[in-house]
């Protein structure tokens, strides 16, 4: 009875309808409930939030890409079996247990989506951006990837084949963007600054030096 009275606009068959409808209050109610029962530790929550805010993000992936550009042996090992190679750099864990690196070339451009939810290589790129989780990206990336790229201001050269990786299993994909011209002799750290998050998802290109 309480369900129907309190939250008429929600689905009554689901337990969540018993919580306050406002999402911020809903989170707080559940957090309070779980911590009063000793099931979650607020200090652990702060630690998780801080991890993805400050420690795990696209800078990790950019280091991998920059090394692949600079070191042919590293690149070959990465393309052959990326999981142990990135784990050696300390990038392993939740939502990145099985990594495959796919390289953009003159002939092929790669782009990653998860049409069923929001699978994303967390240890390399952190938490996915809002657009990656949006209905529009999930719906359109497989059917009209070139129109999607246009929304990002990217046009592929004529003759380039587009491969969209719909990451429907536990394998996570890292796009190795093309190395920009005029970057010969640059250090790995300087190269890494050219590697944008979107270029590692395939909705962007690496920055030109000086741009």
């Amino acid at each position: 009875m309480l369900r129907g009275m309190a939250h008429d606009h929600h689905d009554h068959d689901h337990a969540h309808a018993l919580l306050p409808p406002d999402p911020a209050l809903r989170v707080r109610a559940l957090e309070t409930l779980l911590s009063r029962k000793g099931l979650i530790d607020p200090a652990a929550l702060d630690e998780i939030i801080d991890t993805y805010q400050n420690r795990i993000g696209p800078k990790n992936g950019a280091q991998v890409v920059a090394r692949a550009w600079a070191d042919p042996e590293f690149r070959a090992a990465l393309l052959a079996d990326a999981t142990p190679v990135v784990a050696d750099l300390g990038f392993f864990g939740r939502q990145g247990e099985h990594i495959v690196a796919v390289e953009n070339t003159e002939e092929v451009h790669n782009m990653v989506v998860c049409t069923l939810c929001s699978c994303y290589p967390w240890p390399l790129l952190g938490i996915p951006p809002a657009w990656y989780k949006s209905d529009a990206y999930r719906a359109r990336a497989v059917r009209e990837p070139r129109a999607v790229l246009a929304d990002f201001g990217v046009t592929l050269p004529e003759g380039v084949k587009l491969r969209v990786w719909d990451s429907t299993a536990e394998v996570r994909y890292l796009v190795i963007p093309r190395r920009p011209a005029g970057t010969e002799g640059m250090s790995v750290d300087d190269l890494a600054r050219l590697v944008t998050r979107d270029s590692m998802i395939g909705t962007g290109l690496a920055r030109e030096p000086g741009a």
Binding site: V27, D46, T51, R94, T168, A169
Partner: protein
């Protein structure tokens, strides 16, 4: 046969807002709390990743459409906590008690967060026997895309690929089978393949017929073409 989350190929969603590279990681404080509460509750070990995905998919189509991303997470988490008996409906309604929970000793501690996140949850399992398909082989996806053991159950075969013919690119070895694991029916690992589909095979009006979509698909989603 499918649910609202299975949106690959859908029309009508409109333009994508690419945002800005400097956008905050968490657009709202409660997004951060929702993420952290969900991960910390998952560490209690009462469900697996396939169950948590299925809990989000089981939101009603109206809720799934209306809810923002983390609203789906937190609502599915509430459902999961009650479904698994960790919390009661009375608890959610504010009529429970605050005594220490029997699972409290398993609560994730701040000092263990880094190790737990770094450990993750690998889905690969030892292969038993040979994979049925070899790289280069032509295969066809089952049609319709649906869980074969549980009606309306969890599956990772997207509807847009049902019945489509593609080519095996590689085998990843055996991986936990979500259609089984999401329903507490065991991990039932089986070979996982990357399969290549030509855009012209998937779409009535392909943007470029030669473009490709790659999907990671379990062996029982496939038959020889």
């Amino acid at each position: 046969m499918t649910r609202v989350h299975d949106m690959g190929g859908r029309f009508g969603d409109g333009r994508i807002d690419p945002g800005h590279p400097e956008d905050p990681i968490y657009a709202q404080d409660w997004h951060a709390r929702a993420l952290a509460v969900t991960l910390a509750a998952g560490a209690l070990g009462q469900w697996n990743i396939d169950m948590s995905r299925h809990a989000r998919e089981r939101l009603s189509p109206r809720d799934y459409t209306d809810f923002s991303y983390y609203e789906k997470w937190i609502s599915a988490l509430a459902d999961l906590l009650v479904d698994t008996g960790v919390l009661s409906a009375d608890d959610l309604a504010g009529q429970g008690d605050d005594t220490r929970h029997p699972l409290a000793e398993r609560a994730l501690k701040a000092e263990d967060v880094a190790a737990v996140l770094a450990r993750g949850g690998p889905a690969d399992r030892p292969m038993t026997g040979m994979p049925a398909f070899a790289p280069g082989q032509r295969v066809r996806c089952l049609r319709p895309a649906a869980n074969r053991a549980v009606d309306g159950g969890h599956t990772r075969l997207p509807a847009y690929a049902a019945g489509a013919e593609g080519q095996i690119l590689r085998c990843h070895g055996a991986h936990v089978f979500p259609d089984s694991n999401a329903h507490g029916l065991g991990e039932a690992p089986e070979p996982l393949y990357t399969v290549v589909f030509a855009a012209a095979e998937l779409w009535a009006q392909p943007e470029r017929p030669g473009d490709e979509v790659m999907l990671d698909l379990w062996q029982s989603y496939l038959e020889p073409a």
